[in-house]
């Protein structure tokens, strides 16, 4: 037996002895580096083969490689043993599945934002794009351009909050009472075909109670094109109501008056509490009013320079708070802007 083979036997014994003492993955890695690493003892041994005399080289080479294989195998076995021991340890430390994890703060959007987005999403699906307009508005856009001149009795439909600003003895600036000014604002800048929805804040000089807020949010809708008719308006609004309130919703249309539409209508859905029988929620009529709408008045299309023999259009305005109250079963509109977290966290 040559010296070299003794070295190999010694190396093997040392490696196996040290491996036996390894108790975790880090020590195992150290062991691997010490024996099998780039500068490990076995590697160095094998690398030194060319320096040996020819007659030894073959034998030492074979034994050295056998050693490397053996140690690779032992390493793998040890690794598996350590891993299964570790897993067993993990398993033995049982979790209590009924306990919560550490808290992760979750932000939420306001129910009005959520409802608004859902509604805009429905209209987007029908090709309506969202645009916006100012909340502080001119009397011109809020009223006059919508066929509501000063001293028109229809002004009573929108009790107005005015800005303390006078010009030529009049107050021309106000907090918009509806999103309808944007019909005119948009048509002034664009040509048909038009399909827009305009979300936004509106204000009314109105005492607050369970169903009235002085600050409210609306979505205005406007479509102007060739061949738009009242049946299209009905179809659009019925589709909207069913998407928001459910496919089995009954939708009813009745005549109403807004100076900027002709014909005009109000749209109701059947009360989902009583299904049309009459209850407290619907004021015992079986129906709940959700929006006002109509065909854009030809005077308005004409004042925009559109040819009313070619173009017709429809418009609608819907209050978000009311829709949110109905879909979430909120019984008092004032909850929305009181910002009580106990309320807001339910959404």
């Amino acid at each position: 037996m040559s010296t070299e083979t003794d070295v190999i036997s010694g190396l093997e014994a040392a490696a196996l002895r040290e491996l036996g003492a390894v108790s975790d993955a880090a020590a195992l890695e150290e062991w691997r580096v010490a024996f099998l690493g780039r500068k490990g003892r076995v590697t160095l041994l094998l690398r030194s083969l060319p320096e040996l005399p020819m007659e030894q080289r073959r034998d030492v080479g074979a034994r050295g490689n056998a050693l490397k294989r053996r140690l690779d195998e032992e390493l793998e076995l040890r690794k598996q043993a350590l891993e299964s021991r570790r897993i067993e340890e993990v398993i033995s430390d049982r979790v209590d599945v009924t306990l919560p994890g550490p808290p992760i703060p979750r932000g939420r959007l306001h129910p009005i934002t959520q409802t608004l987005r859902d509604m805009l999403g429905v209209f987007k699906g029908m090709g309506f794009h969202a645009v916006e307009g100012p909340e502080v508005e001119w009397d011109h856009y809020n009223f006059e351009a919508l066929r509501i001149p000063p001293d028109h009795p229809a002004r009573d439909m929108w009790d107005t909050i005015w800005i303390d600003y006078e010009k030529d003895g009049r107050r021309p600036m106000l907090l918009r009472t509806h999103t309808s000014p944007n019909q005119v604002r948009f048509m002034e800048q664009h040509e048909p075909p038009i399909r827009i929805v305009v979300p936004g804040r509106c204000y009314r000089f109105e005492a607050t109670d369970a169903t009235h807020e002085w600050m409210l949010t609306q979505i205005e809708g406007l479509a102007v094109d060739k061949g738009i008719s009242l049946t299209d308006l009905k179809g659009t609004l019925a589709a909207f109501a069913r998407r928001i309130f459910g496919q089995d919703r009954q939708v009813t249309f009745r005549c109403s008056y807004f100076p900027f539409v002709e014909p005009g209508m109000e749209v109701s859905i059947d009360c989902f509490i009583c299904r049309g029988e009459g209850c407290r929620t619907c004021g015992h009529v079986g129906w709940i009013e959700i929006l006002g709408a109509g065909m854009v008045h030809p005077d308005i299309l004409m004042s925009m320079g559109y040819d009313t023999d070619i173009y017709t259009g429809f418009a609608f305005g819907v209050g978000i708070e009311r829709i949110a109250m109905l879909r979430y079963g909120v019984d008092d509109i004032r909850h929305f802007y009181s910002n009580d977290l106990r309320f807001l966290r339910q959404f």
């Binding site: 009795p153 010009k167 479509a223 009242l230 589709a239 008056y257």
Partner: protein
Amino acid sequence: MRVPLSWLSEYVDLRIDARELAHRLTVAGAEVSAIEEAGSWDGIVIARVEKVEPHPNADRLVLATVDIGDGTDAEVVCGAPNLQEGQKVAYAGIGTSLIDGYEGKPFVLKKAKIRGVESNGMICSEKELGLSENHTGILVLPEDSVVGQPLSSAVGDTILDVEVTANRADWLSIIGIAREVAALTDQRWRDPSLQYTEGKKLASKMARVEIADKDLCPRYIGAVIEGVKVGESPPWMQERLIAAGMRPINNIVDITNYVMLEVGQPLHAFDYDKVRGKKIVVRRAERGEKIKLLDGSKHRLTQDMLLICDGEGPTAVAGVMGGGDSEVSARTTTILLEAANFSGPSVRRTSQALKIRTDASTRFEKGLSRQLPAVGAARAVKLMTEICGGRPAQGLIDVFPGTEKDRRVTLTMERLERVLGLEVPNGEVRRILTSLGFTCRWLPPDRFIVKVPYWRTDVSIADDVIEEIARIYGYDQLPTSRLKGEVPDYVPVPILDLRERVRDAAAAAGLQEVITYSMTELEPMEHVLGPEELAMNPPLRLANPLSRQYEWARTTLRHSVLQALAGNLRGSQDRIGLFEVDRVYLPRVAELPEEREMLCAVIAGRAPDRWGSPTGDLPGFYDARAILDSVLDALKVKGEYKESVDFALLPGRSSEVFVGEDRAGCLGEVHPRVLGQLGIDVPVAILELDIGALLPHVPEGIHHQPVSPFPAVEEDLAVTVDEAVLAGNVAAAIESSPLVVSARVFDIYTGEQIPRGRKSLAFAITYQAPDRTLSDGDVAKQRGRIVERLKHEFNAELRA
């Protein structure tokens, strides 16, 4: 408008029940907001008095046996002096709800012994039934009342409360509703009679009418009725007025009110003898002119108000209210009746300026027909003749400077179909329009010439007529369809999209969204904004705020969000994070204000531990910074933070954030002074972002960078710098060096081994090349350059 069905039925047959009628009217545009049953008498039936016998123990009481129609008799103790055998009466059984005849309060009838005799129910007085205040005797029903039927079949009324829209002045009359009911139930209505016999005396000889301002008074009719006896009007008229919501006064005034309710024309009766100069002048008021009105109020008038004057001065404000001087009294014998037409806008302006709204002004302001005064005058004269014994003078004094032309509208079938989306047969169009009083003439090949009835002042174009057809046809009968045209091009509104991304980012950072009122008080704004800021953007004030609380258009969200926070603290230790994304209103001269989209967020309360219990960790600057970084990261923009001084924030703990050259917001710890003013007693970190300022810096899309397949090298670098040097600036300098992909501060140290006035900053630097594995030499070379650069820019020394 209150419409008693008993009155309505005089002009049209009511062939459907009240509920169905209310529904059809509502659907057609005359919204019935309430159906009022005058008396809902559950358990009260019509009975016949079979026998009246003395009460054994009481002289003033009797025992009545009544047939209640179910085959049995009931014996009732009664004290009414007018009770007689054979009468039809209202019988209330045990358990019925009634009104106590003495106290006027509701009670439930119980079985009781009255002076030792059991009374099995009750025969009711009008008061007990809630019909009137009369409790002197029992209510005696008409002979043809049917025993056993509910009381409501014999007495009582149903009243529809109709919400009349601003365009339908004609619906402010019973006849107007009758016309509608006729059209909806396919019959004709019956107009009230206008026939009366005139006297010999010429009205035009008895008084003169002069219209000075024809623009505000297109027509004025004066009628003279002599020999009237002023007194109470007959019960039927009083009942109708009460049912319609008016108070009976005397027969003359009642007739003017009755006719107004009946046909919609407001009228005014002057005491002829008190009309000075026997002359009516309709003119604008003179500057400073004064008048005392019927309700006793005194007013100073302006030159745009229209007056009715006699020979010497004002006697009424036209279309609004009469004056006290020429009021009809018990001694009045001759009436000068006014039936006029006034300009709607003028009446409305005057009524608003004087803050007086009357039944007359609400009708005039909606625009009445100029033909209506003739109807109203004739009807009132007829009733004054019949009820007050009056003798009408011959003719009317009718000043009608302009005439009213018949309105004709051309309706093509093509337009009808274009607007409705449905072909309506000619016969149906004609049937509907005729039923509403329109006259149709077919003009081949394709159109109707439609004559509008005088009372329909709201109809002037083809589309108005189309609405008539649609609403009587029934909106619900129309089919539905989908929009067919091309979907228009997308109109990008970048600020809107960005604002919603900011909302999502803030919520993703763990904050709860709030929405607060955008009009606020001034005082809390003064707490969070410095005087210069307020002077630069003085908030817009509202002329008529709902309350002082909502008087100013806010120029910041800070106070609003802090107030929402204050409302939620309630002594809780838990961490709360709130945000609002909304507009602030920055004034511009003679223009609408700039409405700037802002984000404001606040954090308060202790951070939770693993179990959710509050730790000692209170929010500070870096918590706000973390949220702001997270929001900016979501938008793919990089903020640059600079120390700042802010009125509401703690100095040394506040910062501005810049994106590119633009100041995009600020953050910091709210000054305890401000917190105290807003009633908050815990530390609060706040941040604010100007979404509009951000907009130009937000990349439109995401451009993917290839991930380097070559290994990164991580190493630490520690330098000392003067204490004033900001670590972020040093990190930014390192990060902008070649081969560096990131540099992160991980330790800041002052103390032992560091010279006074200096601090040690340690950075974890990641080097990586996109195209090769970095060698030790590459990294060492770059490290050397960085150290040189830091020495040059920050006077930094490499720590050994």
